[in-house]
Symmetry: C2
Subunit: 455 residues, 2 copies
Amino acid sequence: MSPVLAALGKIFQDESILTEAADLIHYGKDRTDQYEPAPLAIVFPRCVEEVQQVVRLANQIGFRIVPSGGRTGLSGGACATRGEVVVSMERMNRIVDFDPLDRLVRCEAGVLTATLQSFAESKRLFFPIDLASAGSSQIGGNVATNAGGNRAVCYGMLRQWVRGLTVVSGAGEILYLGKGLKKNNTGYDLMQLFIGSEGTLGIICDATLELVSPPNIQVALLGLKAFDQVLELFQYCQEHLRILSFEYCSAAAIEQAQKEISSHFPLEAAAHYVLLEHDGLRRTLEDVLQQWYTRQPDTCAVLASSRRQAIDLKRWRECISTAIASAVPLKCDVAVRPSVLSAFFEDLEKLAEDFADWQLVLFGHIGDGNLHVNWLPGKESGHQQVVSHQRQLLQDRVYELVIKHGGAIAAEHGVGLLKKTFLTSSTDGSIVSLARQVADLLDPNGVLNPGKVYS
Amino acid sequence: MSPVLAALGKIFQDESILTEAADLIHYGKDRTDQYEPAPLAIVFPRCVEEVQQVVRLANQIGFRIVPSGGRTGLSGGACATRGEVVVSMERMNRIVDFDPLDRLVRCEAGVLTATLQSFAESKRLFFPIDLASAGSSQIGGNVATNAGGNRAVCYGMLRQWVRGLTVVSGAGEILYLGKGLKKNNTGYDLMQLFIGSEGTLGIICDATLELVSPPNIQVALLGLKAFDQVLELFQYCQEHLRILSFEYCSAAAIEQAQKEISSHFPLEAAAHYVLLEHDGLRRTLEDVLQQWYTRQPDTCAVLASSRRQAIDLKRWRECISTAIASAVPLKCDVAVRPSVLSAFFEDLEKLAEDFADWQLVLFGHIGDGNLHVNWLPGKESGHQQVVSHQRQLLQDRVYELVIKHGGAIAAEHGVGLLKKTFLTSSTDGSIVSLARQVADLLDPNGVLNPGKVYS
C-alpha cells in the first residue's frame, strides 16, 4: 500500500476511502470529458476537522488534493489527472442552520443546489441563483466557482449572497470568514478571495447564504428578426419590467432543441429568440409587450398562461446543451458588455464563414452579456486530428475576439485546466503575479488543485 | 524646503500642492474630530499617472501617503496625523463614461456621491447607495470604505455594484481590475480586496459602477410599543413589501431630532419608531400596513402622501446625528444579525443602567442589523478626564457585547484609527496575519495610510 493511502487510512475509515478503478474515473473527472482521470484515491470527510487533517497531511507528506463537489464544471476545474487525492464533499451535506428573520441558511459544502432550492421554498423563500445543473451541482462548488446562471441579470453572481464561509486554507488552517452580516467592514473582506478561486486557495466546508422573497415569475418567449432588436428589447424590458432572466437562443439553437422536444415550437420561425422571465404581474408583462409590438410589429411572442406552460417554454432554452452534447461541440463560455454584443456577434458571424465546416450554435444569458458560443463540428470535417487542430484554432479565435471586445474568456464556468493558458496570456502580468503571490500565501506548498487557474 | 516637498514640486505645479496651516488642518482630518491633523502637504493629482508618480516617489524617498476623499468618515481612516502627504482626489472629479444598455457609469474617485445621484437621475436611472453624507462624500472614498447607508437592506453594500476599478497599489503599480462585466470568473477577483480596504492597499482612481432602475419610493413612519414589535414588523414587511430601507429611531433619538425640526412630530408618542421605504405602489403599502394594524392595533403610523411629506418624514431620522453632534456623543457603529437584535438591545439597556450618567440614543439601519449606538455624556458627568475615561470604558463594553452576539464592531464606517486595537484583539490571529501579509504584498514599504486598520 502506498504511504499516502496508509496515512489517509489513519484519518478515514475504510468506507470513506475509495480506490476502485470505476470510482477513480467517476470522481476524477467533471463534465469536460477531455482530461484522463487518474486520481490516487477519493476520500469523504464528514466534518471540517477531517478536511483540515487531510490538508495538513498533504502538506506534511507531500501529496496533492483536488477538492470535489458535483463536478458539473465545464473547464476541468475538478478533474484529477495526476495521482491527486480527491476530497469529495458529498457526505458533508447537511443544512446546518436557518433563521427566517435573517433569511440566512448555513449549508455544508455537499448540499445539492436543488436541495437548497427546495429548502428555501419550504420556508417561503427563494435561492436566487438558478443553475441548469441544480440537480447535481453542490453549494461548495457553486461558491468555489462563483456560480452565475440564468438570473444573474437580476440577482448577480453567487458572491452577492455569500454572508459567511468556513474554509480550510491550503496551509491547513480553518478560517471562519464573514459573520452572516449584511454590513461588515471590520478589516479586509478576505472571504471574497475564496469565492471563485476554484479550489486553489482553500476548501469551502460550509457557506452561509442569504435567501430572498420568492419572485412572481412570468414567462414569455419572443421571436425577432435582427440581433439588434434583441438588444433593443432588452433595454426596453430593463426600463419597464423587473427582468429575472433574459435568455437568448439563435435559430440554430432552437433547431437543435427541437431534437429533444416532441411538441411543435410554439412560435413562427424567426432569426433570434428571447426567453424572458419577469417578476411581477402577468398583466404588466402583457402591457409592456403590447407597447413593444407597436414599435416592432414583426415580433412574434407567446406568454405562458400557466406554470406548466412556463416550464414547457423554458425547456426550449434549457435543453439546448443536452441536444448538442452528442456532437461534442467546442464550447466557449464568454462574456462581453451588452453594449458591445452587437459588434461581437458580427465578428462571430464572420468567424463562422472562415470555419464553414463548423456550425455556430449561439445561446446564453444575454442579459448579463454572457454568451455560450458553441460550435458543432461538421460530419465532413475529416480526420480526428484535423478536427482537433481546427477546434484549437477556432477556440483561440473566439477568445481573441472576446479580448478585442474587452470581455472575459471565463464568464461563469471558470478557468480550471481548460483556459489557464489563455488566462495568463491575456491578463496583465502584474495581476497574474499578484494572484500567484496570493496563492502562495494561502497554499504555500501548492497542495490544492494543482495545475489549475494560475498554476 | 524639505526634500519631500522639493521632490513633489517636480510632479505637481504650485497650485496642486498646499502647505498652509489652515489647509493642513482642513485636509488632515475627517469627521471624527479627535485626531490632531498634522500632514506635511496636500497634493491634488489630475490623472492616474500623477497618482502613480506620487506613490512611486513615496516608495523611493520614504514618505507616507494618506489617500483622501470627502473625509466624511467617522473612524479616522482619512486622518493625517504624522507628517504624511495627503493625496486628495477631489480634482479627479469627472464622470468619464456612461452606457445606457450596460447601465454602467465610470467615475473618477473625486466625483461626489450627490453628483453621481443626479447624473443617474438625468439618465432615468438610480444609484442604489443612499448615504447621509451624499453632498460631500466621494466615490473613491465610498469604494475604499465599502459604503453602506440606508438602503443596504435592499441593495446591499457598494461592493455589489462595483464592476471595475483603476487602482494604484502601494507598490506603485496601476491595476485595471474588473471589466465592467456582471459575469467574470477569469481568475481571482482581486478587485474585491481593494473595496473596503480603507486606502491601505491602493488608491482608488476610478470606479465603474452599475446603476439600477429607479424605485417608486413610498414612505411611512410608524410608532411601536416594544422593540420586539419592531422586529416582527420587519419580518412582516420583508414578506409583503419590497423594503428599500427600514430605519429605527428610539424615543430618545426622536426627542433629540425635535431640537432640529420646528414642526410637531406627526405621531403620538411611542417607545420605538420605524421609518420605512417601500418600492412599489402606495396602495400596496397601505394594504399591507392595514393588515398589520389588525395584528398590532396599538401601532401608530403615517404614510407620506406627497414627495414633500416623504422628505419631511425622513428628516426625523436624518437629522438625529446633527441634533446630537454638539453633545459630542460616543458613537458606536456596529452590526449584529437581526435575529439577535432583541438580545443585544436588552444588553444595551442593562449597560445603560451601569452608565446612568450617559444617555443612550439608539438609531440606525435596523433592517440590515446595523445599529448606531450613540451615548450622550450627562452634564453632571464631571471632569473632562473622567468623561474621557468613562467614554473608553463604555466603548469597550459596547464592543464586547457586539462580539458576544457574533456581530461586527465596524459595520459601515470602517476601522480606521478608531477601532484598530479592537479589530486585532477581536479577530482570529490567523486572519489578522493573513490580512497583514496581503497588505505586505500590495504595499511592501507600508507607504499607504500608515497606522490604519491592521497596521
